[in-house]
């Protein structure tokens, strides 16, 4: 499968690694269907903070595997998974956690009210908590996320009609928001199952776009 038709150019002025680093007081939104690789990417945001303090993942569906977190570098002893299958309880749980936790990855069930998400954003800013939100329903309203990463394409390597095994995933995403100065950028992340998710800088496009936050 070919890469999308994007002119290969560097993202001058942007450190791709720093885009994928959790920022205190900021919300990062991961937007894409289940299966596109965003859980692993979201957990990867917790790897850095987990060297200093406990990090928390809010699991709505009850399927989240800490093994994926360990593989991307989260300290095993520092990850706490909070299961919250009840959408009615999600806002309260997320609020309580944002108040005391430095780094949080949270699946967002469908039906969470916009004003609750805005209050959560304000709380994260006040408490300087780094938060990654993964909406399982529609994307988050505008103005919430400092950085929005939307999946454009997923490709797998290693598997061939019964032979081999999955070895490497290429995830092409579109980055928007204040974190990329309101521009619309494309980045490619390569995940080979080790504790390093390599960020490929050769893909980039300098289209102008709407700021997400």
């Amino acid at each position: 499968m070919a890469l999308p038709d994007v002119a290969p150019q560097s993202m001058a002025g942007f450190d791709l690694e720093s885009i994928l680093t959790l920022r205190p007081g900021r919300i990062t939104e991961l937007d894409g269907a289940v299966g596109s690789g965003l859980t692993r990417l979201g957990l990867r945001f917790l790897a850095g903070p987990s060297t200093r303090s406990e990090v928390v993942a809010v699991d709505v569906k009850g399927w989240l595997s800490p093994m994926a977190a360990w593989e991307v570098g989260v300290e095993p002893g520092r990850l706490v998974v909070v299961r919250c299958p009840d959408p009615g309880m999600w806002t309260q749980v997320a609020g309580v956690l944002v108040e005391g936790v430095r780094a949080l990855y949270a699946e967002v069930p469908a039906g969470v009210k916009e004003h609750d998400l805005r209050r959560l954003t304000a709380l994260a800013r006040a408490r300087r908590a780094g938060v990654v939100l993964r909406p399982l329903g529609p994307e988050l309203p505008a103005g919430i996320a400092h950085l929005r990463l939307r999946v454009v394409e997923v490709r797998w390597e290693g598997s061939e009609r019964g032979h081999g095994r999955l070895t490497r995933r290429h995830l092409v995403m579109e980055a928007t928001g204040k974190a990329v100065a309101g521009m619309r950028r494309r980045i490619e992340v390569v995940d080979d199952g080790s504790n390093v998710v390599r960020v490929v800088s050769r893909v980039g496009a300098g289209e102008r776009g709407r700021a997400a936050g």
């Binding site: 596109s36 690789g37 989240l64 595997s65 998974v81 430095r102 061939e160 019964g162």
Partner: protein, 489 residues
């Protein structure tokens, strides 16, 4: 009533010699004699650092059971003077004194009477509410109780550092707010919007109001008890084991009312009919673990004293009170100005957040995980409730585990995989139904056969990695039926 050096007064420690008490793994200093602290040893310091600074010091490990046993004698003596004593932890107790003040004719006669029966080392503080009283006790001297007549005025002069969380305090200082009086003068709504519940709590305490107690009309009978008439419990560990079950039941019932207790009455009936009671208060809402710990301390104390619980425990009852659905109390126990706060900076906030999450979703939904050996992804994780020590794993992780599903691991895994519809053509997957959509299979790997322990009923399973345009999944086929074991999300 606070004994700052309670942990130091150990029977095993040589009298008159400097001592440090350590706890935890790695071992850290939790208490030390004044002469040792003067030599640079600090609370929270690692044991080896402390020993480097004071090589001749006697190091003893903390024994909370022994501390509780000694403290029980103090509380029992205190109960002869005033009723309703609430233990918070060995060395710290609170007493609501309204009734006793009328009986003894004022604060001074009451405090004099209390001081007479207490062992050396006690600091007594009297103020409105437990938090202010704890601050007062921190400023008392031995033999010189600290009586606060005007609690808001007393609190107004205190440094904001007494509020605890270093980050919050730093922000207050940066804003030019250095005393509780200055903090109390700010509009509460402004603090609430800027700092959330932590700001609200800080303002409430600065204004001399403790966390509001909300007696609620409970829709359930909150007290729980268990009877053991046939086989009395004779060991503290046995009682703690039973207490854990009772605590889980009680907290689950309270959780349905969206509330949690800050105070619990522990009541036991001995084989000879003696009934013993003790009220325990906690800084944060009690959890299964913290409540069990208190019961264990208490049983150690009662069973370790002569005539404690004759004939063993035939009935155990836990009765919660001081219920609250919100708000947290800033630390009652923290040593003001110690480096402990710096060592654990941020940890209190995280622990409180997770405790409160446990109240909301239940202890079994706030989980830690430890790696263990296994072939399927879900087998390689051992879950345990947050706050519990990890047990020794039965499955050795470094063992080879031939046939293990290779990495990368699916990020979404089910321990009870649901059925999934897969269309096959001559043994090759063609389409898979994910949600409501049929997705054509782009490529796949496998099958990798997993032969389990057939003598234990484990069936042969074939594993496939299936790639579709919607992503990749791990599929397990057992006896012709396909199951979705994981999603490479």
């Amino acid at each position: 009533m606070w004994f700052p050096e309670w942990a130091l007064e150990r029977e095993v420690a040589p009298p008159g010699e400097p001592v440090v008490v350590i706890e935890g793994n790695p071992a850290r200093v939790v208490a030390g004699s004044a002469s040792i602290l003067a030599r640079g040893v600090e609370i929270g310091m690692l044991r080896r650092q402390a020993e480097a600074l004071a090589p001749s010091v006697t190091v003893v490990e903390r024994d909370r059971g022994e501390e509780a046993r000694r403290f029980e004698q103090v509380v029992t003596a205190l109960e002869k003077v005033v009723a309703r004593v609430e233990a918070s932890e060995p060395g710290l107790a609170f007493v609501p004194v309204e009734g006793a003040l009328r009986y003894y004719g004022g604060e001074e006669p009451l405090v004099e009477r209390v001081a007479e029966i207490l062992p050396p080392g006690a600091r007594l503080g009297v103020a409105d509410g437990p938090w202010a009283a704890r601050q007062a006790a921190g400023r008392a001297q031995e033999g010189r109780p600290f009586l606060v007549e005007d609690t808001p005025a007393f609190l107004a002069d205190l440094e904001v550092s007494v509020l605890g969380p270093e980050e919050l305090v730093e922000t207050f200082r940066w804003l030019g707010v250095s005393t509780l009086g200055a903090l109390a003068a700010l509009p509460r709504s402004a603090l609430a919007s800027r700092f959330g519940a932590a700001g609200l709590d800080a303002h409430r305490l600065a204004a001399g109001e403790d966390r509001p107690v909300r007696p609620r009309v409970m829709g359930v009978e909150a007290a729980v008890e268990s009877s053991h008439g046939g086989e009395p419990l004779v060991m503290a560990d046995q009682v703690a084991f039973v207490a854990r079950g009772l605590a889980a039941r009680m907290l689950a019932a309270l959780r349905e009312q969206a509330t949690a207790p800050y105070r619990v009455l522990v009541e036991v009936e001995a084989g000879d009919g003696t009934i013993r009671r003790r009220v325990w208060r906690s800084i944060d809402p009690f959890t299964e673990q913290t409540l069990t710990e208190r019961v264990w301390w208490q049983m150690k104390a009662w069973m370790g004293t002569p005539g404690g619980v004759p004939g063993g425990v035939v009935r155990l009852r836990l009765d919660p009170s001081d219920l609250s659905g919100e708000g947290r109390q800033l630390p009652l126990l923290e040593q003001v100005g110690s480096t402990w706060q710096e060592v654990d900076e941020g940890r209190h906030d995280t622990d409180r957040a997770l405790s409160r999450a446990q109240v909301l979703v239940g202890p079994d939904a706030v989980l830690r995980s430890v790696p263990q050996g296994g072939r399927m992804p879900h087998e390689r994780v051992r879950w345990l409730p947050w706050g519990e020590a990890p047990p020794t794993s039965e499955r050795s992780e470094p063992a080879p585990w031939p046939g293990q599903t290779p990495s990368p691991t699916p990020a979404l895994v089910s321990s009870r995989p649901p059925l999934v519809e897969v269309e096959w053509d001559d043994g090759m997957p063609v389409r898979i139904r994910l949600g409501t959509r049929w997705e054509p299979v782009l490529t796949w790997s496998g099958p990798w056969r997993l032969v389990g322990r057939w003598w234990r009923g484990e069936r042969v399973a074939d594993r496939y990695q299936i790639v579709t345009s919607a992503g990749a999944v791990l599929c397990v086929v057992v006896e012709g039926r396909s199951y979705l074991a994981g999603v490479y999300d």
